[in-house]
């Protein structure tokens, strides 16, 4: 039998939260042992659309944009994911090539778990299967809502809705305002909303004039959430 240097088991967000959180301690230790954790810098790619899928990525810290190429020069941002989330799961059982790409939008750490191990674990641990189904279901609902918003809402309403989502997921309360702890370029925001950069810039400026938000550098601060909800034409 081959003797291998004993590995240290690390506990991170991907084991304590997310799809592995309901596993028994022994199974969690296995996940910790077989995962590979790395630090990534902003702009580094985790996986690329069209490349073979080899496993699952669990985000420990940092934020990642999941994109699909719209043309050779343009990309559509499908979603932004953060700590506790998993990506690369869509093709884990089908063995298809990656249907999208994942790129760090800020520095962070990500764990990788290879497909062979994860498929074996799925067969042994029903909680992972159920959590994956829940995750896929939530993503499908979000995708359907976004598709409907593209047809039924104007750009300003969609942008306001995006800012509400950012407030819910990344909002940090500060005195009389909420800091959105996510830094996206105007181009990236335009890609999510489905419009041109100039339009995003114009509506951000309008929101500032209406006293809904203010900016310091690239950071956006929400000042009046009620007005933003009215602009989004949603009931929250």
């Amino acid at each position: 039998m081959v003797k291998i240097k004993k590995l240290t088991s690390q506990t991170c967000t991907c084991v304590t939260h997310g799809i592995f959180s309901e596993l028994e301690t022994k199974a969690k230790e296995l996940v910790s042992m077989y995962k590979v954790m790395n630090q990534y810098k902003k702009g580094q790619t985790l996986f690329t659309e069209g490349a073979p899928n080899f496993g699952l990525y669990c985000i420990n810290s940092g934020k990642i944009k999941v994109t699909k190429a719209a043309s050779e020069e343009r990309e559509t941002i499908l979603r932004i994911v953060g700590p506790g989330d998993v990506i690369g799961h869509q093709n884990i059982l089908t063995n298809d090539k990656n249907q999208n790409s994942a790129t760090m939008i800020e520095d962070g750490s990500v764990c990788f778990i290879d497909r062979k191990f994860i498929t074996e674990l799925i067969h042994k641990e029903p909680s992972i299967t159920i959590n994956l189904i829940k995750k896929l279901s939530a993503e499908m609902t979000a995708s359907e809502n976004r598709h409907a918003a593209m047809s039924n809402k104007n750009v300003k309403e969609r942008l306001a809705e995006l800012l509400i989502t950012f407030k819910t997921n990344y909002g940090i309360k500060e005195a009389n305002r909420v800091r959105l702890d996510i830094k996206l370029t105007r181009e990236e925001m335009a890609s999510i909303v489905g419009t041109a950069n100039e339009t995003v810039i114009r509506f951000i400026s309008e929101f500032k004039d209406e006293g809904i938000l203010e900016q310091e550098g690239k950071t956006i601060f929400l000042l009046d959430e009620r007005k933003l909800i009215q602009s989004a034409n949603v009931s929250v």
């Binding site: 240097k5 077989y34 690329t48 080899f54 496993g55 290879d114």
Partner: protein, 118 residues
Amino acid sequence: MKKPLIEISATQLENLKKNHEVLSFDMDMDLVYEKQIPFAGLVLLRGEIEFTKRYKIQGTTTSSCVLGLNEVMNELPVQHGFKVKKDSEVILLGKSELLNTTDEHSAIFPLIKKFLKA
């Protein structure tokens, strides 16, 4: 530059091909970034992979070699980034498979044995 690889024989390559899926990677794809732990041992069957350090090319390797085996098994960061220079065919040996290989008849056992001797 000391290349971070283990060279393997044609017989070993054939054995690996029989038991593993061959994956294709396009030119310019980053397989492993510098100072990261590889997510798998990479067996290069066809194509070319370049080693980079601080975004500068330090060398390249063509077929019949394994990259990153020591690093993935011992959770060590690679000193060079691995980037696909020409469209390549690769077999990936995942960490779970490498750590679970105790069967002396398996296709990757000789590689692990070779790595342990190195």
